[in-house]
Symmetry: C2
Subunit: 421 residues, 2 copies
């Protein structure tokens, strides 16, 4: 438990009506936790003066550090700066550095320095704050403190990349100068092939013996359970032994660790075995390729993909037999294996994963309802093929097919594959 508490406050009606997903909170929480804060709560409120003042009164002198994001734009619905200015009893003054930053930004974006009144207004800042100059947007960040309060207040714009830039390039330094923080982290174990309650049962005796602060948290999601254990600083021998015991208990069910994902494990296996990979995707529509290529360095092993959304592309490019499609349907073991074999030839890679299925919401039949999916991995002349029945929601079916394909790849590469029947 850190000696310093922090609170994150995100401001915007768009959050309260569910119009946008508040990703700033997660990013800030992750960063403030790593720096060494205990985050006491995350609060989202609308662009309403009374509410913001209520929150200011609540956090003031109760928590050590409070970060606000949002409501700093140039438009009429953004009022955070004026409200803070009044609450701190300050006066808005023109900041010439900020004005010159805004002019530069305007020139880069629009080729001229003709600022309008709104641009000018963004350069007005409360006279009592430390200004965080923004090189990637027009709204500066601000840091405030009060003589009669232990709380440090920071305000950042709500646009995510501006918020992140100001945190990393401006605020982080100030945080570290004001607080004597001890960095924190946790060990994270990704577990597959067991239910949450069975896992809790398996680990019961091990958990029993642990000190409270090392008790694991369970995070289940789409077939993967993540076990989190806070790591003591410094790491003790006792802790190390406990973790070794946990790893032994988990055995083959432990598929990845910490920030690594199962995809990282697969990527490492591909690189260490000097294997190249490609995909042939129907129902996942390129999503597996996307997941592979989002990782930096993918070009070391990922060669490419044929997204064969239409049957014509299955037959013309992947050389799937037209008669097989007629006889068995496009969603069948025969077709998914021919897709893999065809893709292996045309992409000239060592291993191929293919998908075909009915993502929904339409296209299902009694024999093949929405959610029916075939996945096949082709490796060293052998097919490793499985059939799945997922649910009715298109997006979730695409996501689960992608996860299952990567898990199948993992099992094949680790020589853990056992047919499901």
């Amino acid at each position: 438990m850190s000696k310093y508490s922090a609170v994150i406050v995100t401001i915007g009606d768009e959050i309260l009506i569910g119009q946008i997903l508040d990703t700033n909170s997660q990013w800030l929480a992750n960063n403030l936790f790593s720096e060494g804060f205990t985050i006491a709560e995350i609060i989202s409120i609308g662009d309403i003066a009374e509410k913001l003042i209520e929150v200011l009164e609540y956090v003031n002198n109760r928590f050590d550090f409070v970060v606000f994001t949002g409501g700093l734009g140039p438009t009429n619905d953004d009022r955070t700066k004026v409200i803070l200015n009044n609450w701190f009893g300050a006066k808005l003054v023109l900041n010439h550095d900020v004005l010159s930053d805004i002019s530069e930004m305007h020139f880069r974006r629009h080729g001229n320095k003709n600022l309008n009144q709104r641009n000018h207004d963004q350069a007005m800042v409360p006279d009592c704050c430390t200004v965080l100059r923004n090189e990637v947007g027009t709204a500066p960040g601000m840091v405030f403190s009060k003589d009669d309060s232990k709380t440090i207040f920071a305000i950042l714009p709500g646009v995510p990349f501006e918020m992140k830039w100001l945190y990393e390039n401006r605020l982080k330094e100030i945080i570290n100068s004001k607080f004597d923080l001890i960095p924190q982290t946790y060990d994270l174990f990704h577990v597959m092939g067991i239910s949450e309650s069975a896992l809790a049962h398996l680990l019961e005796d091990w958990e029993e013996q642990l000190p409270d602060e090392w008790k694991p948290a369970y995070l289940p999601a789409a077939g993967i359970i993540k076990l989190r254990v806070f790591r003591p600083q410094p790491v003790t021998e006792h802790y190390k032994q406990s973790i070794d015991t946990l790893k032994n208990l988990l055995g083959e069910k432990l598929i990845a660790k910490d920030q690594d994902t199962i995809l990282d494990t697969v990527a490492k296996l591909l690189v260490s075995n000097k294997l190249t990979i490609g995909t042939a995707e129907s129902c996942t529509g390129g999503n597996i390729a996307r997941v592979f290529t989002q990782k930096a360095g993918a070009s070391d092993y990922f060669k490419g993909s044929i997204v064969s959304y239409s049957n014509e592309i299955k037959t013309n490019i992947l050389k799937v037999d037209e008669k097989s499609i007629e006889k068995f349907g496009a969603v069948s073991q025969e077709v998914v294996e021919q897709m893999s074999a065809g893709a292996q030839k045309i992409l000239n890679c060592d291993i191929v994963v293919s998908t075909t299925g009915i993502a929904g919401p339409t296209g299902g039949t009694e024999q093949k309802p929405v959610g029916t999916v075939w996945i096949s991995v082709y490796f060293k002349g052998k097919f490793f093929t499985e059939k799945y029945l997922f649910g009715k929601t298109r997006e979730i079916n695409i996501e689960r097919t992608t996860n299952s394909a990567i898990y199948l790849l993992y099992k094949v590469l680790k020589n853990l594959y056992k047919p499901l029947v």
Copy 2:
């Protein structure tokens, strides 16, 4: 402004340390807003009894409806139920319906009904609550009220698909029986090709004349600004006229409306013009294909994609001239246009969009820094090709390339394309 206020409380240390993105809040906020609530705040707290009790005391009799999610799992770190039980002065009793639901679920997942103690414990519920039986998971939802308070409390599990299922199949009905709600909505205008402050300037006079409750909110993100205006119920003639004026002011800059995205507009243009499309993707690695195929009904116009991540696939499948790659590099106008032309032939579609670029973090040079991207649309024998210089972050570069490619498609299909020079 609704007469009923609501608060959303999400519970879990994983949210406070930024380990997961809290998507439940957005989903609930969106649904509660549409039902007719004014969401006063969204609060996230850890699995700590004192904090949960503090929040219970704060919301009690202050707001009309409060939804909690999280902390209902079968493991030791999930304590919400017990804390609530104590706070409401209730007693945990075995609920036989819930026990039978859990047995059924266990049988479907594991082929047997051998419940362990943890499974049994999930069937214990406070004797004062209304139980929301869960058909898609093991933790039931609960609804509480207190004699001396106006607040209705609802508790749902934190696993997103269970939370959504319980809301839609159980809680929604209860909400509508307890509150006399008037559904709410808003008009949303997607605007491209203008800066936020220039847009605010353009709309200044129009905004001036509007009643306060119709004043627009501005949401900028990656080149698109979304303008939101709350729609009065019922819609008045005055409101309709104001919206018509807005549309006239926006003109060609208005690219989509409401829940539609620019991709929906592109999809409609493809369908109405009976055009088929395909992609040839290098730096986007299948992301454009994924974005197209995530939409239900994509098979009506989307044929497929060649993800040519390696140069070998560019030359072998897309028939890009090896000499062009040598002379101009893989990230060049020549190569991106040959990719489009090659893909058009092999995918046999009417329109192709191709991308090649340096997504980063490595691979940049002085002439072609990280973030350099070429996008080309090939349509009716003509190339519409643009060069972009994005930033240094791989994920954002992939995202911006995808958005820009769809915007370029939009302009070509709407006959709005003008070369950037």
